[in-house]
């Protein structure tokens, strides 16, 4: 099905579909999960004319579709409930002429396919009545698709929160620079931690702040340490210098540079904005980062404050999740459990903060303590993973 064959295929494809459809509906398979009278797979068309043809006489349970894009451009296809608009299946990026398989496990009800050609209005297919039981085991959850319009308020809210924290971050790093300038390296360490935790709560995981993040919170290049990497600036360079006993004069240029880089982030932030496409990713990516770089100790450049960073990351996860609550509430049954899991993780992590504000080094934890912590964060990030899937931006079906 490459391009040359496209036009021919259109007609030929439909003919084939019809034929298969006939054969399919009378096929009876012996496989354990195959149902009597269900075809192995319904051949379904997705086209400008003829959206959702080929799905006939279905009974509740597993539906398998071989969906063919009979148009001449890219297509997205939903399977939705006619009454609620809840989506059970989303086949994205279906190229012209291509066929792909999708499955859904659905109870009795009225459903239809919706074809969403690139740059054209959605086309609803015929309503299909699924007969049989109203409850099926392991049913595919149907949820309303989340659109860009749904996400704009959430991303604005999240962006506004970050923006409100940037002056605090600026004050923190300015204080750090002042400490270094005045030669008070003890106070500099305390202010370094305050500033670093502020930054780590902002959700800068995975390049969210672009080059600014690299300058502010970059990690040493492969084969280098934070101390000897000549290209490294930012929190981890300062951490390496402060905790290795470097003289103030050597540290000062990096402290000033950090102040300047944070100022640059502030200046640019209104233009950076939080892309609605990204907001759903944040909540779990912040903790993915924590798992990979903090709970392994990899990001430690001498301060042994990984646990403090994890705590800040949990704050950041909660802040990224909060603006999505309204969207998630009707779509994610585990939302409350997710929020409780973040809170429980935070409580556990904070049990390693002493009354004087110092943190137990990760390296001092016993195996059992690390296992308990890893388990808690692992469980939390599993619960956060569906948030990104649910908040993946989709087109409205109508």
């Amino acid at each position: 099905m490459r391009r040359a064959a496209q036009y021919g295929m259109l007609a030929g494809g439909i003919a084939a579909v019809v034929t298969l459809g006939v054969v399919g509906t009378v096929t009876v398979r012996q496989g354990s999960e195959a149902r009597v009278a269900h075809p192995d797979a319904y051949p379904v068309t997705a086209g400008i004319s003829g959206c959702g043809r080929g799905w006939s006489d279905p009974a509740a349970g597993t539906q398998t579709f071989d969906v063919t894009n009979t148009s001449i451009a890219g297509m997205e296809v939903y399977l939705e409930s006619v009454a609620s608009g809840d989506v059970y299946l989303d086949l994205e990026a279906l190229g012209a002429g291509s066929t792909t398989r999708g499955r859904a496990i659905i109870p009795a009800g009225r459903y239809r396919f919706v074809c969403l050609p690139a740059d054209e209005d959605p086309i609803a297919g015929p309503t299909v009545t699924v007969t049989g039981v109203r409850r099926v085991a392991d049913a595919t959850p149907g949820i309303p698709p989340v659109t860009e319009n749904d996400l704009i308020p959430a991303s604005k809210q999240y962006g506004a929160w970050i923006e409100s924290r940037l002056p605090v971050l600026q004050a923190d790093v300015d204080a750090l620079a002042d400490d270094v300038a005045s030669g008070d390296l003890g106070k500099a360490k305390a202010d370094w931690l305050t500033g670093h935790l502020e930054y780590e709560s902002l959700g800068a995981a995975y390049g969210a702040f672009g080059d600014a993040d690299e300058a502010i919170n970059g990690m040493p290049a492969s084969g280098r340490t934070a101390l000897d990497d000549p290209g490294l600036t930012g929190f981890h360079k300062l951490e390496a210098l402060l905790w290795s006993g470097a003289p103030a004069a050597e540290i000062a240029p990096f402290a000033d540079r950090l102040s300047a880089d944070v100022a640059g982030l502030r200046a640019n932030f209104p233009n950076v904005r939080i892309d609605p496409l990204d907001i759903g990713l944040r909540a779990h990516e912040i903790l993915e980062n924590a798992l990979q770089f903090e709970l392994t100790g990899a990001a430690d450049a001498g301060s042994h404050t990984n646990l403090a960073t994890v705590d800040a990351n949990l704050n950041g996860s909660a802040e990224a999740l909060a603006p999505l609550r309204g969207i998630l509430k009707p779509r994610y049954p585990q939302l409350a459990k997710t929020e409780a899991s973040i809170a429980a993780a935070q409580q556990l992590v904070e049990s390693y903060r002493a009354a004087d504000g110092t943190w137990t080094p990760l390296q001092s934890l016993t195996t059992a303590q690390r296992e308990a912590l890893d388990a808690r964060i692992d469980a939390t990030v599993e619960l956060l993973a569906p948030v990104a899937a649910i908040c993946d931006v989709r087109r409205a079906a109508s």
């Binding site: 354990s32 989506v87 949820i143 059992a368 296992e371 388990a375 808690r376 692992d378 599993e382």
Partner: protein
């Protein structure tokens, strides 16, 4: 179940041995102790559905070249699969520490493991979650998960029976933390654990897939403590598979040849000092035994064969001609042929007294990279199942202390566990007798 491989390795124990001087002779017994292999036949195969490939194999023979759609081993039964089941080609041993914070969470965890194991061992289509979550299955095995001879065997360590879950009074009588035997060099970070999963299948990707699936479903409840992957070699050229010392390992399996043997040697029974719930379970010993293969390969064949007690090429006891010949120790009472401290002779002298000490061996070779000096890390994940840990494994292991072979091997990890009774039906779950 090819139980054998490990033989030598396994038992080595004690150490010091001096290498040298053992001249002796012959024997081959390494494997002998366990006999296990035979057992297979009865039990493992039991379920009619045992995968074809293996069932018909002679004891000690690994499941051979199964096709991708080999039938599934039945998950439900009085005993777990993966014990009498003929050893599939690939296996992994993964120990976890529990992080479940209560008995209720532990129960939930066991139900989750049950549910995943039930699905994975049967195979089928994963759940469909539409647009509500990432795909629940890793896709490693394609859209339809094949059973591929997968078995998931769940065992508990002694630490489960501490004060965390209120189970102290229900500990299997013989279960304890594995001791350091005199020749051991155990790294405790690679020993013990609350829960041991033994996953075996015809292909390695099936094991990887199953472990990922179970780990994903149980996050929060347990964390991996250590892991060792192994494989069963194909027969070279025939008979019992070889271990990485080049010897056939697991040849001898007399006791399990009869159908009633597992009841005497493998399955633990309730009653006496044993709590009720243990009925149908088994003491599961895992010993990760490194073989110092560079050293071994510098040893003369004569000395190698004397330490083991068998011919390297044929696997025959030095007193015999063919692999399965009886060593006939009565004809060699002073060890002129098979030296008295040859591995197979120490492990099982074929006396009536030692018959009840035979265990069901189910070991896997491993090849895990290199050490800091560039030497290969080859060895054996010796695994065995015992009705009574003390009477069987421990007794035999103590006899092997300072055997000549001990110089060439180094036990580094593993632990003592108790393989749970089987999940009997659709509504049952692992450890239900313990936790319900």
């Amino acid at each position: 179940m090819s139980p054998q491989r490990g033989a030598d390795a396994e038992r080595p124990a004690a150490g010091l041995g001096r290498r040298g001087f053992l001249h002796g002779l012959v024997g081959a017994g390494v494997a002998a102790p366990l006999a296990a292999a035979a057992a297979v036949a009865p039990a493992a195969a039991t379920p009619a559905s045992a995968p074809s490939s293996s069932t018909s194999s002679p004891p000690g023979t690994p499941a051979s070249t199964p096709s991708a759609d080999a039938p599934a081993y039945p998950f439900h039964g009085a005993h777990q699969a993966g014990i009498l089941t003929p050893a599939q080609r690939n296996g992994t041993f993964v120990a976890f520490d529990l992080t479940a914070s209560s008995r209720a969470e532990l129960t939930e965890l066991m139900k989750t493991i049950t549910e995943r194991a039930r699905f994975l061992t049967a195979g089928g289509l994963p759940a469909e979650v539409g647009i509500a979550a990432p795909p629940p299955d890793s896709g490693v095995l394609g859209p339809r998960v094949p059973s591929d001879g997968l078995t998931v065997t769940v065992s508990l360590g002694a630490s489960v029976f501490d004060d965390r879950y209120g189970l102290a009074g229900l500990k299997p009588h013989r279960l304890r933390t594995m001791e350091d035997f005199p020749n051991d060099a155990l790294d405790r970070a690679a020993c013990d654990g609350d829960v041991l999963l033994q996953l075996c299948a015809h292909h390695p990707d099936t094991i990887t897939h199953a472990l990922r699936d179970i780990a994903k479903a149980t996050r929060g409840g347990m964390q991996v403590r250590w892991r060792k992957d192994g494989f069963v070699s194909p027969p070279r050229p025939s008979g019992t598979p070889r271990n990485l010392m080049g010897f056939k390992d697991g040849t001898s399996s007399p006791a399990l040849a009869e159908p009633s043997a597992p009841d005497r040697l493998v399955w633990t029974h309730a009653g006496g000092p044993e709590p009720r719930w243990v009925e149908g379970g088994s003491y599961h010993v895992v010993r990760v035994i490194r073989m110092l293969v560079e050293f071994w390969d510098r040893v003369s064949l004569h000395e190698q064969e004397n330490m083991i007690g068998r011919r390297r090429d044929s696997g025959a006891p030095l007193t015999g001609t063919r692999e399965h010949d009886d060593p006939r120790y009565e004809t060699d009472p002073t060890g002129d042929v098979i030296q008295m401290d040859a591995h197979i002779r120490l492990a099982n002298n074929r006396s009536p007294q030692q018959a009840e000490q035979q265990m069901l061996r189910r070991s896997y070779n491993y090849d895990s990279g290199v050490d800091t000096n560039g030497n290969l890390d080859n060895g054996l994940v010796f695994a065995c199942f015992n009705q009574d840990l003390e009477r069987q494994f421990v007794t035999v292991q103590k006899r092997l202390i300072d055997e000549p072979l001990a110089d060439y091997i180094s036990p580094t990890g593993g632990g003592y566990f108790f393989a749970l009774p089987g999940v009997r039906h659709q509504a049952d779950w692992f450890a239900s007798g313990l936790l319900a």
